[in-house]
Amino acid sequence: MKKTKTMLAALAVGLLTSTAAMAGDVRIMWYSDGVEGEVLKDLLDRFMKENPGINVILDNVSYSVVKEQLPVQLEAGNGPDIARVTNLKAQSQHWLDLRPLVADPAYWDENFGAQADWMRPDGSNQISGFMTQITIAGGFANKTLFEQAGVAIPGKDATWDDWAKAAKQVAENQQVPFPMALDRSGHRLSGPNLAYGGNYIGSDGKPAPLDEGTKNFLKTFVGWVADGTMSKDVWVSAAGSTYRAAADDFINGQLVYYYSGSWQVPNFSTKIGTNFDWVATGSPCGPANCTGMTGGAGLVAVKYTKNPKEVAKVMDYLASEPIVKEFSERTLFLPAHKGVLAKGLDFKTDDAQAKAALNAFVEASTSLSDVARKLPGWLWSDAVYGALVTRVSQAAAGEMTVDEAFARIDSDIATKVKDSGN
């Protein structure tokens, strides 16, 4: 009997010990475009040394896991304690309100307030997290190819047509397979749509049917895919709304002009190195304006966490001014932190091209249209982006006419709105 009691006591102590260890665990789901995962790990190691009671577990996953698997986990009331997410608004019902938990809510409001609405339910003053980076969609040109072809790089106010013409000339001259490429993404496609005068947001706040501005660019875009001006590989390479980037083609020198965004700068800086010269060009102009799209990735706390206090402590640390500054300077990301932006950054790179590119994107952020600024905080953005990608790629593959694609985009979005019960 005594032996049994001893064994039971040992078991109880073991269980209590393991529970105590789990109580301090904070699990972060993180994806990386470049080196940010390594930088974050380094920062978290320092945090854990300063806070031995909190064990932060960093799960590095691919972006598709965040896009496709995290939503299912959240719907099931599971998931990590903290996640790096781009689809912030549509999932805002799953984020934890950090306002009563963080050390100084006023600090958060002051420095991250401009984007706070992108990640909280409409009408609330919740602090869900902060943007780890602000991204601006924009173009990159292979400067070496332009120089070798003897074609001048289009200037600041160049239109999409100017870029298409110039890129085609360079590609023909240099025997490069792709003059232009635009990521297979509704977000990326939306920059030129808005520049052509498009607006997805109806007067009731719900999605409006495709307007003439959007239709005009989409017609041009599908025409460019058909005549080889725009890379067909990226847009017809999948069905549905699957994301595909053309970054590798640009890095391999197979692409003259690539429309992507500021998050590619560290990637290009690391992988292109001195292979060729490249420049960031901002967004080409359309008939309405020269806007790109803004957005970015936010680090949000998940409300199903068992350890909200520990989560808030980790978030306070990562959102603190010196850490945001260090993270941004080492990752070459544009920060969202107002104070850090005001004091300026010293990006940790010897690559003059990367520094110039980052400055070009900061400059491009001044030409964002009002609609472009609204879309990241609009509930229906992803529904529109998904329908755009699915149907435009079908039109690009020759499965349907552009007009049929327009009708399908409108009906797809209307069905999504109906399905959601809103």
Binding site: V72, N87, D233, S237, A239, N252, Q394, D419
Partner: protein, 342 residues
């Protein structure tokens, strides 16, 4: 007499080795006798089947009924209690079509495109898979030099994960892949195989055959080796030609294995997903979008998912599979009876 003595009961060492077995048998004998007294001999079959049926019920039947329940609900919520009952609306939406042969006339055009693609894929892949597996098994059944090596070569792709299979072939077939590298070296122009609708479709058929043929070959090979050699010797003595021996001896005696292979290949073909998802992503356009990918994307991958629609599509797919399997089993039994009468 020696042959009648059970193994292990002749020597002292054998006796000792059998002790734990006998003890274990004695330990389970008593409770089993008790159960048998309560249930009777007939009930014992049910008793022994119960664990299997329980597992089957939990992991197959229960999910099936839950899936059916999902197909009768609407909305984007994941949990069943949070979803609204819509009856057969999801099925009605799938079947809302002016002309089933023209997916563009359907409300869920992508579903019908996927159904059409899957039907073509099944017809081609199943036919070619059976043909290639049978020919390979017949060749490997002969006295070849390094026969074991060749068997391993054909079986090796089966050991690879479908994702690895998809990636390997993507690296071969993509614009800057191995195939174009080879063609360029030979003076040909590189071609974008995966951007061409027909080549892309052919690639999915070919890759799935390459990846799974070894398994079916193995089943057919086992069937071939079970055919008594003396039948062929007798046929040879009667002057029967090899082709006639194949049709009259090999094929009828291989039919049970062949039927199993046909059922397995068919089910696998309808469910094709992973390697194709990695290889083509369903593209170009929707030319290699098959039904499982449609279900996955509708239920999980798109923004504002529709689990109800995905569940309805998967119930329909399951129904088609059940019908096809029953038809094949029926045909198989009919063939067996016909063979027995002869």
């Amino acid at each position: 007499m020696k042959a009648d003595v059970p193994k292990g009961s002749g020597s002292g060492l054998g006796e000792t080795a059998m002790v734990p077995v006998r003890l274990a048998m004695a330990a389970i004998d008593a409770p089993l006798r008790f159960v048998q007294r309560r249930l009777g001999i007939g009930g014992m079959a049910t008793f022994f089947l119960l664990p299997n049926m329980l597992i089957f019920g939990i992991f197959v039947l229960l999910p099936f009924f839950i899936n059916f329940a999902y197909s009768m609900t609407g909305g984007t919520a994941l949990f069943l209690p949070d979803r609204s009952f819509v009856g057969g609306d999801q099925y009605a939406r799938l079947f809302d079509c002016a002309n089933y042969a023209d997916p563009n006339s359907c409300a869920e055009d992508t579903f019908w495109t996927a159904v059409g693609n899957t039907a073509w894929f099944v017809v081609l892949q199943v036919t070619l898979m059976i043909l290639f597996s049978l020919v390979t098994a017949l060749i490997l059944n002969r006295d070849l030099m390094a026969r074991s090596f060749w068997r391993a070569v054909f079986f090796f792709p089966v050991l690879l994960s479908p994702v690895v299979v998809g990636l390997i072939w993507k690296w071969i077939l993509q614009r800057q892949g191995l195939l174009n590298f080879g063609l360029y070296g030979l003076g040909f122009e590189p071609y974008t195989w995966l951007n061409d609708r027909n080549w892309s479709f052919a690639a999915t058929v070919g890759v799935s055959i390459w990846a799974h043929m070894g398994f079916y070959t193995l089943i057919l090979l086992a069937g071939l080796q079970a055919i008594p050699k003396d039948l062929y010797e007798a046929a040879e003595m009667d002057g029967t030609r090899p082709a006639r021996a194949f049709w009259r001896i090999t094929l009828p005696l291989l039919m049970p294995n062949l039927l199993v292979v046909i059922v397995l290949v068919l089910i696998r073909a309808v469910q094709i997903f992973d390697e194709v998802y990695v290889l083509t992503g369903g593209g170009p356009g929707t030319s290699t979008l098959y039904i499982t990918q449609y279900i996955y994307e509708t239920g999980f991958a798109t923004q504002l998912r529709n689990p109800g629609l995905a569940a309805a599509a998967s119930i329909l797919m399951g129904g088609v599979l059940v019908v096809l399997t029953l038809v094949q089993l029926g045909l198989g039994r009919k063939g067996e009876k016909k063979g027995a009468r002869k």
